[in-house]
């Protein structure tokens, strides 16, 4: 029998978005089912960057894994280092000296600003606002210069150690940070002047990709994405680590949980980070930056020619590594993307028996199919950008 052609074509089509799309930051693909311009179904496909970091950790000494954490969320190397180092310290029952704690907080808050700058910049870029992206990368450059002075690297910092930090903040670096703090708030005002009242920006972000507080909690969202939905939750306040109980700062929360709120929360967090750095710089005491415990830190190299036990201590630590007691712990820290946590199982040897990384982007990405459903194709890009996913972390 001859089929009668339909007057209009209402067939659903399948569209593969990514992996080369800029807002997917490399290697995430969406299989979208579209009805006209509306998304009926969205299936995220990940795994294209999977490197098996957790398996690799089982064959490495605890200290050898620190550079690997830089490769997780490659926009927030210092924060990842801090999370991992804190986890191993908790496992070992070691605490870093005061000055080291301040240095860690200052560096990781700078890193938070740098990461949020990329988040806000690329989000604006995805919606067509080139200027904001160029401005935010200009400011990020200043932070990367500080990092370069601090530890010699700009992206993969590898700058903290179990028991402290190997590098001190010199007066020149502090001066650089002071300079940054002086200009940065006015630069933030510039971004807001460009975006906050911009009708295109508002229509593309307001009431799009709305996530309720209940959903945000149920799906395990964390960090700015959770706070944008109005949940006042920040690990720095809830379980203060390092010196976060000694500095004053606010937790910005959104009211609607839409794309705009997620942008706004990040902007506010940058301001709060500046406050934290300011206070930390003022409070920072003099003193050692590394603990002096055999089995945790290396001996002073100046003693080598005369002091044989120092040589043995050096050798033992480098060959056997730390030997934490048999137990298991989970430590989570507040990263720019959300809660980054490490679950460590120790069997008493120098290598972790099992290391699990709780990556914030991985957990929050699973709400995407739910949020994308029913939105327009053009909004898929802005919603994804507002989540600020980093694939190195999703795939690990």
């Amino acid at each position: 029998m001859e089929s009668i052609p339909k007057p209009t074509n209402t067939e659903e089509i399948c569209l593969n978005l990514g992996p080369q799309h800029p807002s997917t930051h490399g290697v995430m693909k969406f299989e979208l089912t579209l009805e006209g311009e509306r998304v009926v179904k969205c299936v995220p496909v990940i795994g294209q960057l999977h490197r098996g970091l957790e398996k690799m950790a089982e064959g490495m000494l605890y200290s050898q894994f620190i550079p690997m954490t830089d490769r997780l969320d490659y926009l927030a190397g210092a924060c990842n280092n801090l999370g991992y180092v804190l986890a191993v310290e908790t496992l070992m029952g070691v605490e870093a000296p005061e000055r080291a704690k301040y240095i860690r907080v200052i560096i990781s808050e700078l890193q938070r600003i740098a990461s949020h700058l990329v988040a806000v910049g690329t989000m604006a870029l995805d919606l067509g606002a080139w200027t904001v992206m160029l401005y935010s990368f200009r400011e990020r450059e200043m932070i990367l210069d500080i990092f370069e002075m601090y530890c010699g690297a700009r992206m993969t910092l590898n700058c903290f150690r179990v028991g402290g930090t190997p590098y001190d903040l010199t007066p020149e670096i502090i001066q650089k940070i002071e300079d940054f703090l002086k200009v940065f708030p006015s630069r933030l005002d510039d971004y807001e002047a460009l975006l906050n009242k911009n009708p295109i920006w508002l229509t593309r972000t307001r009431d799009i990709g709305v996530i309720s507080a209940e959903d945000a909690i149920a799906y395990g969202l964390s960090g700015p994405n959770l706070r944008a939905s109005g949940v006042e939750w920040d690990i720095r306040k809830a379980y203060p680590y390092e010196i976060y109980d000694r500095v004053e700062f606010d937790i910005p929360t959104g009211s609607r949980g839409d794309v705009y709120d997620r942008y706004w929360v990040r902007m506010e967090e940058m301001r709060q980070s500046c406050r934290i750095i300011r206070q930390a710089l003022d409070q920072m005491p003099e003193g050692p930056i590394m603990v002096d415990i055999p089995g945790v830190s290396l001996a002073d190299k100046a003693q080598f020619p005369t002091n044989f036990p120092a040589v043995v201590r050096h050798f033992e630590l480098l060959v056997k590594g730390f030997q934490p007691p048999k137990r298991e712990i989970y430590v989570g820290v507040e990263n720019p993307k959300g809660e980054l946590g490490f679950y460590l199982v120790s069997d008493g040897t120098g290598r972790p028996y099992r290391l699990k990384i709780r990556a914030p982007s991985f957990v929050s990405a699973q709400i995407l199919p739910k949020v994308m459903k029913g939105t327009l194709l053009a909004d898929v890009v802005s919603i994804l950008a507002s989540f600020d996913p980093v694939m190195g972390e999703i795939d690990r």
Partner: protein, 153 residues
């Protein structure tokens, strides 16, 4: 709520199905596989416990058996807890907790992918990080790290 009170509340409700395996530095509780979903629902819905946030799901290969680990937290009460379930290596199967905490979805898929543990009742149990036709489960201790597993044709 303090760890001791948490254990007391669980013991009262589930008796022998709950056993404490580690108290310091963090509380770890082993529960039985049959009662897992029930315990999960109890932890989430009981006022005062209110474990509404699932941090992660993962597994540990203990050579003789697998341990499936759940870390949960209450955003309201600010306490957290690690649950553990022991399952056999020959028949790695455990009920899914996605009905209690939707956040378990991808974590369970990942655990299935990397350990080969099947979560019954999971809405969409497919491999997530590795290609669909990948042989073996890399995070098992007997998986070869220096070469690709041979494909059985």
């Amino acid at each position: 709520m303090s760890p001791a009170e948490l254990v007391k509340a669980l013991k009262q409700e589930f008796g022998d199905h709950v056993a404490v395996v580690q108290e310091e530095p963090q509380l770890v509780v082993e529960v039985s596989r049959e009662k897992l979903v029930e315990i999960a629902r109890f932890l989430r819905d009981t006022p005062g416990l209110a474990f509404n946030f699932l941090i992660y799901v993962t597994a540990v290969d203990k050579i003789e058996y697998f341990e499936v680990v759940y870390a949960v937290r209450s955003l309201k009460e600010r306490h957290q807890l690690m649950l553990k379930v022991r399952i056999s290596r020959e028949e790695p199967e455990i009920p899914s907790v996605t009905s209690v905490w939707p956040a378990a979805n991808w974590d369970e898929r990942e655990t299935y992918d990397l350990f080969g543990i099947r979560f019954t009742g999971h809405p969409d149990l497919r491999r997530i990080l590795l290609p669909d036709d990948w042989e073996g489960h890399p995070l098992r201790k007997d998986y070869p790290v220096d070469r690709r597993p041979e494909k059985v044709v």
